[in-house]
Amino acid sequence: MSERLSPQRPDPDQLLSRVQADMRQKARGRLKIFLGYAAGVGKTYAMLEAAHQRLAAGVDVVAACVETHGRAETESLLVGLEMLPCKQVEYRGHLLPELDLDAVLARRPGLALIDELAHTNAPGLRHPKRYQDVEEILAAGIDVYTTLNIQHVESLNDVVSQITDVRVRETIPDRAIDEATDLELVDLPPDELQNRLQEGKVYVPEQSAYAIRHFFRTGNLTALRELAMRRAAQRVDEQMRAYMQVRSIPGPWPAGEHVLVCVSPSPQSERLVRSGRRLAGELNAGFTALYVTSPDQLRLAEADQDRIARTLHVAEELGGHAVTLAGRSVAETAVDYARQHNVTKIVVGRSAEPRWRRLLRGSVVDQIVEAAGPFDVYVIGGDDALNRPAGVEQWRPHPPWQRYLQAVLFVLLGSLLSSVMHRFLAPTNLVMIYLLVVVLAALYLGRGPAVLAAILSVLVFDFFFVPPYLTLAVSQVEYVFTFMGLLIVGLLISNLTARVQEQFEATRSRERDTTALYAFSRDLAVAADMESIVRAVSANVSQTLGRDVAILLPAGKGEPALDLHTPAPGSTLDEHEMAVATWAFDHGQPAGRGTDTLPAAGLRYLPLITARGKVGVLGVWAAETPRYLTPDQRRLLEAFASLTAVAIERVYLVEAAGQVQLLEAADKLQSALLNSISHDLRTPLVSITGALSTLLEKGVEPDDEARRILLETAAEEAGRLNRLVGNLLDMTRLEAGAVKVKLELRDVQDVIGAALRQVGERLGERPVEIDIPAGLPLVPLDFALMVHVLVNLIDNALKYSAPAAPILIRAHTSGDEIVLDVADHGTGIPSEDLVRVFEKFYRVQRPESVTGTGLGLSISKGLVEAHHGQIVAKNRPGGGTIVTVALPLAGGKEQEGELERE
């Protein structure tokens, strides 16, 4: 702590985290820990006393799990407190009383008393450890009083085991203490404690009485007491510092110390992490556990991979970060990382490499010390028995003995070849054949077999091809050089080749991961619905990690239930698994197998979280041979999960957008219809009202011409209004299916004539060409309706063509249909509108507006279809529009009498 920040202002980052911690505190319940240094100092007693005070102060206190060990004085304190019954869990024939987490959450007291924070839960409960139960209770806003012995604190675990020779298995992470609002030290001098032990006032399990008595030696107790007091003092110190920081009191701020712990596959690493954490704790600094995968260590045995995964996990448990990096040299990578992340101290373990290697290349520790520059490097001593790494795993597919056998075979083949070549070549040149053999062995069989091949080659070469033959003796000294050369070159080549091969394998494994991710993201990119996403996830995860998956999605918006989506239909998850999945979803944290929450589950559940929230849960079945996922695999799985989450969210968003679009389109159509109708209805009304009100106005005398124009306008517009209303009613009737088609056999010529008569005045001087061949059959149709259709078509032709352009009406038979054409020489219809003109209220855009409702053609279409006929519009080659109506000739004979549309 040589540096000091400027004393005026607290570090804003620290202040922020302080404020965030405060805010978390407010929503969370408050945790008070009664800390003792050994069993029997009176923690539970002190807790109950404090609870009674709170009870007297009106707090809703509940004893959720309190163990009195049958001591009367403690039991007497339970009187007057509400007790929640324990959950009885059966385990190996015993009934174990456990904290009933759900009962506490359901009861929602103001303060819950929970003994023994470091307790390990019976298998099958939601969390493996009681402190995790307590965290969930705190998260629910309930205050908790609990008790703890100092030896259960994770970072002190090693120290305690050194002092007492007892390794405590039940540990809690340091953050559980750090996050406690209050820490109360319950103290008793060691000799008094021993007296209480003598008097039988300390609970001692029968079977381990001896060990316990050994544990309660004065030396042990004093050391533990000191540890407890130091931890409590440290805590007070932290609070003081926090207080000074918030009040901006100048003082020696922690100058951003950070400890980096370099871990290796060695079993010692876990201890290294604890030491690092302790150092960090004393410096009030953060720490990071770093694992560097170098080419030398690429192919680790599974046991080692597991150990690294566990070590990094411990680091996270202790409140540090865990980082895995790939680099050519462990030392360089670690120091680079340290430099980039403002690390001040580096902790490494004493090297486990063989002495000769250390002499040759210098150990990793030496390299780090050399490269470290400004950093303090702490080398932690090791326990040699534990220190040997399990060795590098061979990448060869065959078992080792088989490969050595093959190496012998290689040499044998080489020798056969040599015996043939012996006649043509000098013995020294035969060495080349053996070199080839060694290279091939290195390439295909690996390091060991290649070394064997090199040695065998020398021997066989000497025995068969170097005079004197068939002995290992050598007549000429120069052959000794040949042997040496062959051996050294063979060894070097085998080493180099094997190494290149290993690196190649390692690169390939990385590349496999990248390719897997790439393939996955490509599959997801094309997955447009939930089903194909599930298929893509399942295929990719099973291909990459060899595990099956299940995807669980919320059944509906805001519903708590999750729906299972699996590629294999029919597979289900039982109630218990669903509960685990739901927990993972609700809390947004991984749960199930391989995690801290409900590890007894069959699947590992990863919540699928995006920036916008939780979208579901990805469940991964355990592999057939249960083991830890390596950090690489874990990271890959997490990458899969986040890709999946984004893909699922995308599907949701697309669905939502589609619905919005549909609604918008419907909305637009509706308002367009309304606008169109209101415009069409109102325009004639404007003219009528205006004209009539002018005539009615007093004091204004329009001349005769003006009067005539006004009256004409009013009359014409009234007619227009009438046609519009008629059309609207027709449309309504058609849509309601209320139009009855009365089929009779009629002459088409008759229909055309009647239609032209109805158009009447509007036709004016317009020339009309009519082309009806003689001998047309009678057609079954509803006379009045068909006339209506033709009137509409003729009206349109009039409106959309020049006043003098002729209109053509034509009839002819085509197969079993009769075809009626109404054609004009107008501007025609844009080809993209040829179908849409038959839609309701659709009008082709014209520069000079033509009055109309956009209903005529759609009504005609409805009527023609009621006759089981067809109507289409086409553009004439020479300009103009032709509307064709085709009616079935046979229709009437089969369906005589009344026909109802549809």
């Binding site: 309304l674 606008n675 209101s678 415009h679 109102r682 325009t683 004639p684 009304l685 404007v686 003219s687 009528i688 009202t689 205006g690 004209a691 009100s693 002018t694 106005e697 204004v700 005398e701 329009p702 001349d703 003006a706 124009i709 006004l710 306008t713 009013a714 014409e716 517009e717 227009r720 855009q845 520069p847 000079e848 507006s849 009055t851």
Partner: protein, 229 residues
């Protein structure tokens, strides 16, 4: 159609409407010119030099609001917009960009004539008379005095400003935005509640029956109008 008669340009895409407006306006002694699209209207304003424009907002080519905006860049000729009831926002926008008044279709000729008179009067009398009288309301802008049926009325400065603006445009509709901008400033253009509170206070002081106002009339969805005759 004498040489001295006032010239009115009718812009509407419906031929029947142009036809009856021509007949009616001619009968009232105006010279009438026609345009069926926005572009035609813009050129007609240049060539026919109308004294007033009657503009339908639903034109086939250019949006009516755009026509008003373009006209207002170089012309102060009064513009009366015609709209249907469904187009509240369009007509308020047209008024905001400079149209003088509006009529909702269908309308009676008497109403149209009254609006035309008001619009033309504001052009004819650009210099304001200090004394304004309508019904029993009397506003003396030279002395900042307001009286109702002979008895003096005390207004707050804001209420007086509001009344002064209304008097200045008596007979014409003023949109919420126009009133807010002129009395409170551009920053308050959207604070319609300010306007409503002050209008209601003003009415309590000058209207005989504030719940059925006869001087300061509400134009639903548009703004307010002070009775001019």
């Amino acid at each position: 159609m004498s040489e001295s008669s006032l010239r009115v340009l009718v812009v509407d895409d419906e031929r029947p409407i142009r036809r009856f407006l021509r007949a009616s306006l001619t009968a009232h002694g105006y010279s009438v010119f026609e345009a069926s699209t926005g572009r035609e209207a813009l050129t007609a304003v240049l060539s026919d030099r109308p004294d007033l424009i009657i503009l339908d907002l639903g034109l086939p080519d250019i949006n009516g609001i755009e026509v008003v905006r373009q006209l207002r860049e170089w012309s102060r000729v009064p513009i009366l917009v015609l709209s249907v009831r469904e187009e509240e926002s369009t007509k308020v926008a047209a008024l905001d960009v400079g149209a003088d008044d509006y009529l909702t279709k269908p309308f009676g000729m008497a109403e149209l004539m009254a609006r035309i008179r008001v619009a033309l009067r504001h052009v004819e009398q650009p210099t304001e008379q200090p004394l304004f009288e309508v019904g029993e309301l009397r506003v003396d802008r030279a002395r900042r005095q307001v009286s109702m049926a002979g008895s003096a009325i005390v207004l707050t400065p804001t209420e007086y400003d509001l009344l002064r603006i209304l008097v200045q445009h008596a007979g014409k509709v003023l949109t919420h935005r126009q009133l807010l901008r002129q009395v409170w400033g551009t920053a308050y253009e959207l604070e319609t509640h300010l306007l409503q509170v002050n209008i209601s206070n003003l009415r309590r002081k000058i209207e005989p029956d504030p719940s059925r106002p006869t001087y300061v009339v509400t134009e639903v969805g548009v703004g307010y109008r002070l009775r001019a005759e």
